[in-house]
């Protein structure tokens, strides 16, 4: 962990904490928020599903806007980049569900007595689950724009605006679409979790599928939960067919590779739209307007200039800039220290550390189990192209299904069979994210070079040696990608998975997620902050000490050039 991450960690957590705390004071007089009651009738579900989906897309729009601006700023300004990027890295590791309590309080107090506050809080929660990896992907793309294309845009004297839409956005498109897909998949989980939240005395239930399930749990209504799962499954199917497939099929033309793809993504909807006259007539004025905007020079008093050779960095400004950042960090640390001194003792730190260790153990064991199960299956599926083409979309669908809707079923089973919650609640943490391992491994083994497979077969490499020397090294980079996502998701999910309710029965598995959840219910802000800080710290450490080196290793060892 570098000093940059440390500074970023402090900045993020302290700002969150201060905003949340001050917002709490603002908000205290306004406890009454008018909320419509949640109906458990199945006929109410389509309406709720629509509300939930709208929140999702509102957050997606916000994430896209954030991505295009934040990443551009970070990539174009060296100085901004040195602060913005570590910040983003930490934001990515902070458990979203953990700071929901802060943001809810903040937004509610921003619009007292109105539903807009909680709505914005929910959208913000989804936004925070989507934006970071999209931004990272866009930033990486901006930094790796091929030199020749960059030079040709300058030599053609495209303006910054034209270059952005002609070169940078198209170049970033495949990564952006892929990350949007991953984000959206994760988003369903958070939209469900953020609709119904209780912080201390403040109870919020926004009309939506998440609140529907929460109400069903309170009422111990098993049938309603079944309806909610069914509705969600239909919503996800529709979203996949009407939104995602067309998007992926459309984005295929932005692939930079010079060869044809093995599998060209297709979408019946996109084909229909391309062929349909009506759509064409409706769309073409919009398209040409967009085209005009993209082609516009958007320059008023500016001439493109040559890169002034190797520019010598202006040291003085650099020093000032770093001093400013350091001063801000120091101030925040001081505030944090001052704040913690009154509330948190060493006893709390010990409790949180023990809880963190427990959750860490769970994540490790669960990832190991998921690996043992899904890697062989993924390899087997990936090597059969026809089967892979069928299984891959299913795995992706499963990954986007919000696993928290399934929690009540597990809870009922645990209660019914008197199982130990500390063990049997754990699998819920990875229920939704294990699919990332599966579909990345499938993708990896499907991309495995045919000549290497044939070589292995012709030299009769079988059994353990085949796995050790052929299959596992081949899929390793893909596996790491999947496992990083799965483990990150498991940490987040621990906040909703380690404590579960069924009516008045509460199951508590212990651990850091459960600690944060309990403190949220109690409205104990200093301890929520302590829990989040610890979790962020562990996740950042894991990324730095385990995942990133593994990734580097995978890149170096499995590259043929």
């Amino acid at each position: 962990m570098s000093w940059r991450d440390g500074v970023a960690l402090v900045l993020v957590l302290t700002i969150m904490l201060l905003v949340g705390l001050n917002a709490r004071h603002l908000f205290e007089p306004f406890t009454a928020v008018h909320q419509p009651p949640i109906s458990l009738s199945p006929s109410a579900l389509p309406g709720y599903a629509l509300r939930t989906t709208l929140r999702m897309f509102a957050a997606l729009a916000a994430s896209l806007f954030f991505t295009l601006t934040y990443a551009t700023l970070a990539a174009k300004s060296r100085r901004a980049g040195t602060v913005l990027i570590p910040l983003l890295d930490v934001l990515q590791s902070v458990p979203i569900l953990g700071y929901l309590s802060f943001t809810v309080v903040f937004f509610v107090s921003l619009f007292p007595g109105k539903m807009l506050g909680p709505e914005l809080a929910a959208v913000f929660a989804i936004f925070t689950s989507q934006a970071w990896n999209m931004t990272f992907s866009f930033y990486q793309s901006l930094r790796t724009v091929p030199t020749d294309l960059e030079e040709v845009s300058r030599s053609l004297r495209l303006t910054g605006w034209q270059r952005f839409w002609r070169l940078e956005v198209p170049f970033a498109m495949p990564g952006l679409v892929w990350n949007t897909m991953v984000s959206m998949s994760g988003g369903w989980f958070f939209v469900v979790a953020s609709e119904s939240i209780a912080v201390g005395a403040l109870q919020i239930k926004l009309p939506g599928i998440g609140s529907y399930v929460a109400t069903a749990i309170e009422d111990r209504n098993f049938g309603a939960i079944g309806w909610a799962i069914l509705t969600m499954a239909i919503v996800i199917l529709i979203y996949d067919q009407l939104f995602f497939r067309p998007l992926v099929a459309w984005a295929d033309k932005y692939r930079v590779g010079t060869t044809a793809a093995q599998i060209v993504p297709r979408s019946w909807l996109l084909d229909l739209f391309k062929k349909a006259r009506v759509v064409d007539e409706l769309w073409s004025p919009i398209a040409s307007a967009l085209d005009r905007v993209g082609r516009a020079r958007m320059v008023f008093a500016h001439r493109p200039t040559a890169v002034r050779g190797p520019r010598t960095p202006t040291r003085v400004v650099d020093v000032l800039w770093y001093l400013a950042v350091a001063a801000l960090a120091a101030y925040l640390i001081w505030r944090l220290q001052e704040f913690a001194a009154g509330h948190i003792g060493w006893q709390d730190v010990r409790t949180v550390a023990a809880a963190g260790a427990l959750t860490l153990l769970r994540v490790i064991v669960l990832i190991a189990i998921a690996t043992v199960i899904w890697v062989p299956i993924g390899v087997a599926v990936g090597l059969r192209p026809k089967l892979a083409a069928r299984v891959q979309p299913i795995a992706q669908l499963l990954a986007s299904f919000p696993a928290n809707l399934l929690f009540p079923i597990a809870v009922v089973a645990i209660v019914h069979f008197h199982l130990a919650p500390a063990i049997w609640l754990s699998p819920l943490m990875i229920l939704g994210t294990q699919w990332y391992i599966l579909f990345n491994v499938i993708a990896g083994s499907a991309a495995f070079p045919a000549d290497l497979r044939e070589a292995a077969a012709s030299f009769r490499i079988h059994g353990w040696r085949w796995w050790r020397y052929v299959a596992l090294p081949g899929i390793f980079p893909y596996y790491v990608t999947g496992a990083v996502t799965a483990s990150g998701g498991a940490w987040n999910a621990s906040i909703v998975a380690e404590v579960a309710r069924w009516g008045s029965t509460t199951l508590d598995a212990g651990g850091l997620g459960s600690y944060i959840a309990r403190m949220t219910t109690a409205g104990d802000f200093p301890r929520i902050a302590l829990g989040i800080a610890t979790m962020s710290f562990i996740v950042v450490c894991l990324n730095r000490l385990i995942w990133r080196p593994l990734y580097g290793y995978a890149e170096r060892r499995t590259r043929l050039d």
Binding site: P146, D148, L149, E151, V152, R154, S155, L156, R157, L158, T159, Q162, R166, L167, P170, M173, K253, Y254, R255, V256, G257, T258, T259, A260, R292, R295, R297, R303, P304, T305, A306, V307, R308, G309, P310, T312, R556, R557
Partner: protein, 451 residues
Amino acid sequence: MDTRNGERVLTEAKTPATSHIIDLEHVSMSYAKPNGEPLVVLDDISCSLRSGEILGLLGRSGSGKSTLLRIAAGLLAPTKGNAFYRGAPLRGPAEGIAVVFQTFALFPWLTVLENVMTSLDALGVPRERARVRALSAIGEIGLTGFEGAYPRELSGGMRQRVGFARALVIDPAALLMDEPFSALDVLTAESLRTDFIDVWLGQQCPIDSVLLVTHNIEEAVLLCDRVIVISSKPGRISAEIPIDLKYPRNRFDGNFREIVENIYSILTARTALSLKEMRALGGGVMQPLPNVSPYAIERVIEKLAGPPIDGRVKLSTIAHPLLPHVDNILTVAEVLPILEFAELSDGQLQLTPAGRIFATSDPEERKRLFKEHLLNFVPLAGHIVNVLQERKGHRAPRIRFKAELEDSLSADDAETTLRTIINWGRYAELFSYDDRTRTFILGASPDLVAS
């Protein structure tokens, strides 16, 4: 392609050759090395691109000729000196300058037509007008029918045609071409060269002057009115050669061959000289080594020693058509003198006695000879062995040597040199290298010892 009723106009007939399109005055370019010292890529270069001419910039890879083109294009600003376009200082890409890139640099997400139209967007040409001009440029370069195709559907030659159309569509006063044919196969490159010359000689050709950067000597002599030879490290003008042959030129013509041989002599004289300078300075640990595998060295020595050549050869005669890219043969020709397996003078390569022995030896003996020469004549190899002997466990991390090399070489050169010395060391079983731990190990590979 349209040859305009067979009319061929000689270049002299274009505009009077007095007006200058681009002038470079005392241009130098240097980059900062990790230790802060400047690494000079171009050293005090002055030249002009005149109206009505095709000027060739010829040099080895790494001679900075592409950097010079980028300075002339306004894509890079020189660290010293000035670039002028039509007499005015050049600040950034100018309106009448178009660039054709080695890698084509087409936007993969745009169709052929859209790619060509992009040039006009920056000029603010209205859409319909841009479309008409783009279609006409596509027609001129022989791509009619492919307007709607995406670059990935096209072959390399067709992609470069799109690159030309994109440059032609803005009616450039100066067309700057950075190795435009070197990513293409021999036949495709030849047909594109011919077509380019046809466009250039055509009466309606909007291009006023062309700057062609290449490392292919024959290509330069085939296309250019004037060739400037640039030496490597740092890049300096080492010769300027006018070529007064009429188009279309014939590769087998006596005058053509004479010019080609002359240029070979100039290039190799520089190489031999720089090797002498390096030896004279002692040290030589920091000598950059080109990436040539020991097996390529074996093959070339065998060829040189074989019957038709018998140990002494003019480079220009083996370069074509065996190895169309002068770079390959020149690179090997540079390595053999470093290892004292051959001598280089006047464009001729002659095997040394050691080289002759090497050619007739068995593999074991070759390795022994190579090892001996490596230790005696490549100071870096001796240096690595010394360091490994001093160190505990006879191991040293790669980064140690990399950092040392980067003190006087560019990062790319340091990397190439390190890769080359690793290959040579492995071949000679002098030292080995473990990429997992990124360390050098004295002696043959541990794998070999274990068995």
